[in-house]
Symmetry: C2
């Protein structure tokens, strides 16, 4: 089991201040003094040392020198290698200490064993950043792990911030920084743009970057993070969001080491209004702390990641085409005020395909207002259609004023938040006229305009340039356009939703810390319920008696019917050993049930330590739900919720949220279930107390966070949710401690 202290990162509510929502643009305001980000000199160094420089410019120690030269990097380059006097026409230095000018960054391509010392030398020389290209660390197993620890220590001691090791380097296109090797080092003609990216696989990341670039995306900073011994992906995302010229931050992530920091980057993206896109790979790999728990068994690592993304505002992507389209719209479009899209096209088919994809992604194509339809009819040919998605037909370009008028009419409709144009493969002079009309319309409206257009570049080059100069995104197919338009609307909606959200953490001192209980490894049901009760979570009325089958039960103060259960920390799954009897109607049956339960357990688990017998009230109304807690390796304590029985076990109809969270988040958890209608009163059964359920989910989340260093997992199975006004009751609790 991993250490519980790993999750001691920022709490969600602690790290992110409640955000202001006055910003209406995705880009940060460019007025005023630009901030000086902490990593400024990493991306814009005044000089670069190449430590382990090679005279062979085809080798790893030579390629960056060639790339920096070809890219016309403006600062000085200091090759360092005692073997050479000169490398690539430049003076080569015997040592880092010999460097005789401004130097902010060292690129280290030495063998693994020599890297830590080089980092110390950088520190002594005042070089603040080092990129370790060398391999031979953690990734090769035990032998490299010690070297990695030594490297980490060297960085910390010397005050040098590190990228890598085992990475492919860093690009900062506007600063002409090509501190890298491999295929990407040959691409010094890459255009600059507003997207910054960090990735845990250099080969894959730079490959994706090249593909995006071919599709017209310009980049700013791109970092292959390698083993992340010091500077991590979340820190880079944070720096990208601080960078006034970055409009979109993106990461490719295989393993998340600090999920809370990643979520903090998401929350910051909400505050500053620039999206963070994350491609999470490796969905089959699962990290768990307590595989014995039921909740843990149904939880995969991608479930928790997905919940964390939703909760923090991170946008998940999973293919290069989606990335390209989202880069395009987020670097150029204003945020829409809602998810209602007006569509004007010149081919019926495109409109239908757009509508299909829009419906899949939560976009709405509302009916136009009656006025809109009436005036549209005047400009659309009789064989077109004025209903959303409207078909203007290609004839509309015979008189470009009609096209302009159609756009204006739809942009003026108060029920429309975004305008999507579908121009099919319109070529030539019509294309140019159309582009100019679109730019004019965009200047008169604050609603985003997106264009679907598949004409070949050579058939509409002038038109494309007009749109590109005006920052109007062109996306080739209607289905991709709909997805991009939906993403734009969804991020604006997420900002509105999450910016109101704040977790008011109870002061740690005000919360109980049941130290005696927490020393155990496994709590009995009685102890588990005691723990829940301390956190204000309602539990069944229980009477504990000794495990004696000849005891006289006639004096007990109980109301029938009751349940009888064995109490033993050694038996988390009581039903499996005959340790539970339900629906006991009277005292005779009770006596028999106690005898039966004791006999069953003695036969099936003779070695279990029996703490007693619990006589519990039977909850007869409401629905059985499961509330669990897993302590995820990456994200820490996470609450799981679903309806009991087949819903959880067969249909996996469960929702997740990283703890702690507020009541709005709890409502989302319930609302996400496919089976949510069962809470509203289904087929004559009464509506259930969802308010009490949500308050309880919040309390459980606070308890999970408070006990995060000890709580391995929790199953409340079932938690009865009773009819409206009657609250909830936990009828069982299995608590596993660890760490």
């Amino acid at each position: 089991m991993a250490s519980g202290t790993r999750t001691d990162a920022r709490g969600l509510g602690e790290g992110a201040a409640p955000s202001a929502t006055q910003s209406t643009a995705y880009s940060a305001p460019e007025s005023g003094e630009p901030p000086t980000p902490a990593l400024e000199r990493l991306f814009n160094p005044r000089g670069i040392a190449v430590v382990g420089a090679s005279a062979d410019l085809g080798r790893i120690g030579g390629q960056p020198i060639k790339a920096l030269t070809e890219a016309r990097y403006a600062g000085r380059i200091y090759p360092v290698n005692p073997k050479y006097a000169e490398v690539g026409g430049m003076r080569c230095y015997r040592s880092i200490a010999d460097i005789d000018g401004d130097c902010d960054l060292a690129l280290i391509a030495l063998s693994a064993g020599a890297v830590a010392a080089a980092v110390e030398a950088c520190g002594a020389k005042g070089i603040r950043f080092a990129i370790i290209l060398s391999s031979g660390f953690k990734e090769i197993g035990e032998g490299g792990r010690a070297l990695e620890t030594a490297l980490k220590d060297a960085g910390r001691r010397s005050g040098v911030r590190l990228i890598g090791p085992n990475c492919q380097g860093v690009l900062s296109i506007p600063n002409r920084l090509f501190a890298t090797f491999g295929a990407i080092a040959q691409e010094t003609a890459l255009r600059a743009g507003a997207v910054s990216m960090a990735f845990q696989s250099g080969g894959f990341g730079f490959g994706v970057m090249l593909l995006c670039e071919e599709m017209g995306i310009g980049f700013r900073h791109c970092v292959s993070v390698g083993n992340e011994v010091d500077i991590t992906t979340p820190e880079l995302l944070d720096a990208f969001l601080d960078d006034p010229h970055t409009k979109v931050a993106c990461a490719y992530v295989e393993g998340v080491s600090d999920g809370r920091a990643l979520m903090a980057a998401g929350r910051k993206s909400i505050d500053v209004g620039k999206p963070v896109l994350v491609w999470k790979a490796g969905k089959s790999a699962v990290g768990r702390r307590a595989a014995g728990s039921h909740t843990a068994n149904i939880t995969g690592s991608s479930d928790v990641f997905r919940a964390a993304a939703r909760q923090s505002g991170i946008i998940e992507v999973g293919c290069v085409e989606d990335m390209v389209d989202l880069f395009r719209v987020f670097t150029s479009c204003r945020p829409p005020h809602g998810n209602r899209v007006g569509v004007l096209g010149i081919s019926g088919g495109s409109g239908i395909v757009f509508a299909d994809a829009a419906a899949d992604r939560g976009l709405v194509l509302p009916d136009f207002a009656p006025d809109t339809t009436a005036t549209l009819r005047n400009v659309i040919p009789v064989f077109g259609s004025a209903a959303n998605p409207a078909d203007l037909t290609a004839d509309v370009f015979n008189n470009i004023a009609s096209f302009t008028e159609a756009m204006t009419i739809v942009l003026d409709d108060p029920g429309i938040d975004q305008l999507c144009l579908l121009l099919a493969s319109l070529p030539g002079a019509h294309a140019l006229n159309a582009a100019q009309a679109i730019v004019a319309a965009a200047q008169r409206s604050d609603k985003p305009i997106l264009v679907g257009w598949s004409a070949r570049r050579n058939r509409a080059a002038a038109a494309y340039e007009v749109l590109e100069r005006a920052g109007i995104p062109i996306i080739s197919t209607p289905e991709r356009l709909a997805r991009a338009s939906a993403a734009l609307a969804a991020f604006a909606d997420t900002r509105r939703r999450l910016s109101r959200r704040a977790v008011s953490m109870p002061a740690a001192a005000a919360l109980p810390m049941p130290n005696a209980l927490l020393e155990k490894a496994q709590l009995s049901e009685a102890e588990g319920k005691q723990l829940l009760a301390m956190y204000g979570i309602p539990v069944t009325r229980d009477v504990l008696i000794e495990a004696d089958d000849r005891m006289d039960l006639s004096g007990l103060d109980i109301v029938f019917p009751v349940a009888v259960k064995i109490v033993s920390a050694d038996i988390p799954h009581k039903t499996d050993v005959g340790g539970v009897q339900l629906d006991i109607a009277d005292r005779d049956a009770l006596q028999a049930a106690v005898r039966a339960v004791l006999a069953n357990v003695k036969r099936l688990m003779p070695e279990a330590r029996i703490d007693g017998i619990m006589i519990s009230e039977m909850i007869r109304d409401g629905r059985e739900t499961l509330v669990g807690v897993v302590n995820d390796e990456a994200f820490g304590p996470t609450v799981v919720f679903g309806l009991g029985g087949i819903f959880v076990e067969v249909l996996r109809d469960v929702s997740y949220r990283v703890a702690p969270f507020d009541i709005e988040t709890a409502r989302e958890m319930v609302g996400e279930l496919r089976s949510r209608i069962l809470f509203d009163g289904y087929r004559g059964s009464p509506a259930l107390d969802v308010d009490a359920l949500c308050r309880t989910l919040v309390r459980i989340s606070e308890m999970a966070w408070h006990l995060r260093t000890r709580l391995a997992s929790l199953d409340i199975n079932p938690l009865f949710v009773r009819p409206g006004g009657w609250g909830v009751v936990a009828a069982d609790a299995v608590v596993t401690l660890g760490g």
Copy 2:
């Protein structure tokens, strides 16, 4: 309600003969006499009349003349227009009758009212095909509908086969046929290839074609079908499958007019081993015959289409990138023997991304055989990985023999059916060496090899050409590669699965035709069960009594407990009006229940005609399921199956199959449910009689097909599925007739 006779199309089992499975390649055998397809002269005409030719080559009557000339169409072009003596430097004919040479095809660009007469003139002249570019028919509403009927009649009378009207024309690239107008008419340099396509939206279809072409796909025949007055999409798909040079047939479909014909094209694709890809748009539009029925209410048109596609072997696509990738692999790859993929990459990230996408699509990345792993280890550097997906690292290209050896080792592993290579953005000389090694490996193995490669064209041009010449597909990203690889495996699997499948239709004469019942519009429960029983579907033991609340019930031969239900064709939803009482234990309770049911119905539906009271046995074991039939506008009778209650109503956990079908298909229906585990014995409940269930589903499908001209909808809700060996029992039946 639409006419029931619309579905009088080929039955699935009647149209498609049981197929041979000896063919192992996707391409049809090219040896022997090539067949002469029925539409040969449409795609390869000896001469073309352009009727309504325009001297302005920018107009619709002029653009095809310009395009055909620029494309160097080899036959003669006959412009026809009495206004001109010459068009585009060619003699212009006064009339179709004046044409003085071979002519197989007429392109008609006249006003709508003049088209039918021109078609008659074509017939008189012996011109066998006409493409009607003109608009003004069905698509403009009532006014055009009569013209469309006249056109259809003219075609039938004169023996001229028609494409359109309201279409954008036909391309046959190898025959230099550019019988079209609009943006596509300018693209006469398009390359020829092995994909043929038909589409119901010309603008969207030709736009998609251009995008695919830009991504390297070559086309053969492309048809904008317009209103499909004669030649329909299924007929074209059938012709494409007959064409020995077409390797993939594809259609873009908005509305399906004859679903059975589309399914027949799918079944033929299974027989001949060439895939049919269909993009079905317009998923929100729903066509139903009986919206009052429960089954019909939960059924959307895309549900039925999806089931029909699965059932007939059609591959659904929904975005241009998927189409391109599938075109690429299906035009070049051999069919794999299974879904097990070996992956060799040079970047860890690509392998992980591939594995994620593979898992989503049902591909398996098995562990390599121990031998494979051991020998792979010898050729992979120590910092690589020999586990599937293996990471060879870029170092493997320093000695190309290692790369060759790695491929051979994996191709020789009997547990691997396909090899996928992930070359990231490998450029230059290494790229060329790799490509040559891949081609050599492909020649030594019968397993498909697919390559993921994102190097820019200019960095690996020679390598790409080597692979392209050898017909080895290159796909830019690992996630798209995995999806394409999965599609290849899935089609091979579908062929194995469906080629065994045959519906043995009982001879129509052997089936009952309950004419008296079928004259009604709505059957009572008793009549509905009578109908079911005639088709061998087990129903509950029921006793029918008069609707008299003072009747003496003591003499009835019944076994308690029973249910009491009102019998009335006017009350399809008996529970809603208090017309049902369950769990009646004895004769006194029975008498009270009869009185209560009659009183309820009299109060809530005083106008309903009461046919009597039904006393039914109560089924106490087994699970409630819903079996329904809808008579879909496009596909005809379709069976719907799901577990009752929340599973159907809340979770929409239902499966569909077009009737009739065989027992294997019925098993797939059950296996598709998310809740299928509940049939296997869940949490101690016994396993259910799935065999009897499947036999019953087959019978219901046969009944639905047999009664297709009369049956609007059927709900069997519930059908009890009892424990193994105890069969199934229909406890209710609501039958709506119509048509």
